[in-house]
């Protein structure tokens, strides 16, 4: 019997192993049946009325069928929801295309991204082509989370490279500035950076000048993420042997050529894991923009649960939000693993 042999080898290979198997089975027996009972058997799936959920006693997935649009799009005008939906679809499609190494050559991809960002902006803002204008203060839900996370990551990355290079610079002023910036920002919680960006900063602006709230949060997230990313990038720089810098010098490459063509391509692929770690952190940290009054995915979920009738079913609401966060983070994580293997092919002997 193959199965019999497999069970003996893998589940009862030693006394300790056998004991663990029994314990885990007992635990699963305690947890799984009630979970299935709650999540599936006694769950309510529709009907539109929280009262029916209460009577059934199980999970109230009705919450999602009723409130998913509020959770996904926040306070964006209800009849215009197709616009953020289309914008997100375009964005996800662009991600799928960019993930493919075949499209990396040439400038086509960069041009496509510029165009897409423009289209997404038009869809979200409106005001042209007969689209109703929508203020950024009305943006919300998943599109807002994606806009802030992706733009913050995209802008923080180049800034972090400059900071990391600055920290290793021979020029004392540049080095001091970089070190000061990194240490200052790392020493302060993100919440206070966001507060500074959205409450304190406007106080210093002249009367009548206002800066968009989303933009302020975005700048706060960018500056914060850049400081952490810079340290990850510096780790990669430190791992590059001195000989690589010397060979670049001996060939007459300029500082920026050496960095761009020789050092960074090697340094960055070494630090893909901590960089992606920081991307994931940044993505999840966007949920903190709620403290400056923006309705990201999590805040919109919370808003959906403000309805008194639905309030008892917060577990279902937060589970759904968690699932969305998890999908994006898991994708980043898996993609980075693939990318690492792909880029390190030249290190393997043939």
């Amino acid at each position: 019997m193959k199965l019999h042999a497999w069970v003996r080898a893998n589940l009862f290979g030693s006394p300790a192993n056998g004991l663990l198997t029994v314990l885990v089975l007992a635990l699963l027996f305690q947890v799984v049946p009630p979970l299935v009972d709650w999540a599936v058997l006694r769950a309510s799936w529709g009907g539109g009325d929280p009262e029916r959920c209460r009577q059934a006693g199980g999970a109230c997935w009705t919450l999602l069928t009723e409130k998913h649009r509020l959770m996904l799009f926040g306070i964006y005008p209800y009849d215009q929801h197709w616009r953020p939906l289309l914008a997100m679809a375009l964005f996800v499609a662009m991600l799928a295309v960019s993930a493919n190494r075949r499209f990396w050559r040439g400038r086509g991809l960069a041009a496509a991204w510029l165009l897409s960002v423009g289209v997404i902006g038009v869809l979200m803002w409106g005001g042209v082509l007969g689209l109703v204008p929508v203020e950024t203060s009305q943006w919300g839900g998943l599109p807002l989370t994606l806009v802030i996370a992706v733009l913050a990551i995209a802008m923080a990355f180049p800034v972090s490279i400059l900071l990391a290079l600055g920290r290793r610079s021979d020029l004392p002023a540049i080095k001091a500035l970089s070190v000061g910036y990194i240490e200052l920002v790392r020493g302060v919680p993100l919440v206070s950076v966001l507060f500074m960006a959205s409450v304190m900063f406007p106080l210093f602006l002249p009367e009548g000048v206002t800066i968009d709230k989303v933009l302020r949060a975005l700048v706060g997230m960018t500056l914060f993420t850049a400081a952490y990313l810079a340290e990850a990038v510096r780790g990669g720089l430190q791992a590059i042997p001195k000989g690589q810098f010397e060979a670049a010098d001996a060939l007459g490459l300029s500082y920026w050529q050496a960095m761009r063509l020789i050092i960074m391509p090697q340094a960055l692929r070494l630090v893909i894991p901590p960089i992606v770690n920081q991307f994931i952190t940044c993505f999840k940290d966007t949920s903190l923009v709620t403290i400056v009054g923006l309705y990201d995915l999590l805040a919109a979920t919370k808003a959906a649960l403000n309805d008194p009738g639905w309030r008892p079913f917060f577990v279902e609401g937060y589970l759904a939000a968690a699932l969305v966060y998890f999908c994006f983070c898991f994708f980043m994580s898996r993609y980075s693993q693939w990318l690492e293997r792909e880029l390190n092919r030249d290190r393997r002997p043939s």
């Binding site: 042997p241 000989g243 690589q244 010397e246 060979a247 010098d249 001996a250 060939l251 007459g252 490459l253 050529q257 063509l261 020789i262 391509p265 090697q266 692929r269 030249d346 290190r347 393997r348 002997p349 043939s350």
Partner: protein, 245 residues
Amino acid sequence: MAPIVELRDVNKWFGAFHVLKDVTLEVAKGETVVVCGPSGSGKSTMIRCINRLEEHQGGRIVVDGVELADDITAIDAVRRRVGMVFQSFNLFPHLTVLENLTLAPIRVAGVARPEAEAVAMALLERVRIPEQAGKFPGQLSGGQQQRVAIARALCLKPAVMLFDEPTSALDPEMVGEVLDVMSGLAAEGMTMICVTHEMGFARAVADTMVFMDEGRIVESAPPGQFFDHPANERTRRFLGKIIGH
């Protein structure tokens, strides 16, 4: 004829350590100079000063009519004329062999890609590994990597080649293939300054032997005289140790 490389009373310190003491050396066009000496004698530092990987603090260094000074154009000009081969190869591991060779010609000298690739292939032919052009350095043996490194240094058509212990990191069976390439270069009239412990190669190829100890050039002579009748006691002791009798 003016020497192509000239060091005059060059001094250098690493902190308090006086690593080069009044070093004076002239290398004529087409000459092959082999520099030897115990470790820590300053021989690597000396040739690294010639393309400004190290900065000298006293004296003058003139390469092909350009004096090395702080200004960046002089440094760039000298680096365009001087090729360097390192002990640990220092190939760029993320680029293919061909890309390693064409990088500087395209980016620094502004040569068009097809032309740079043609030159690179001709040089790979010359170091006898054209079939490796599409591979990454990590896929090559040490001897092959060092030959690629020599070809890379030659791609910019240098007037002078510096070799900093090019065979010290190689397995013994690969030393020969690298020395063969170097001998070929010397025979074709390349100006070369080599730091090496390969005394057989030195005797066969060098026009001038230079012995350094404690930051000074102790003795400088043609190889026949240098090996058979060394003038200085320290040279005699060093040769006795390295040749082993």
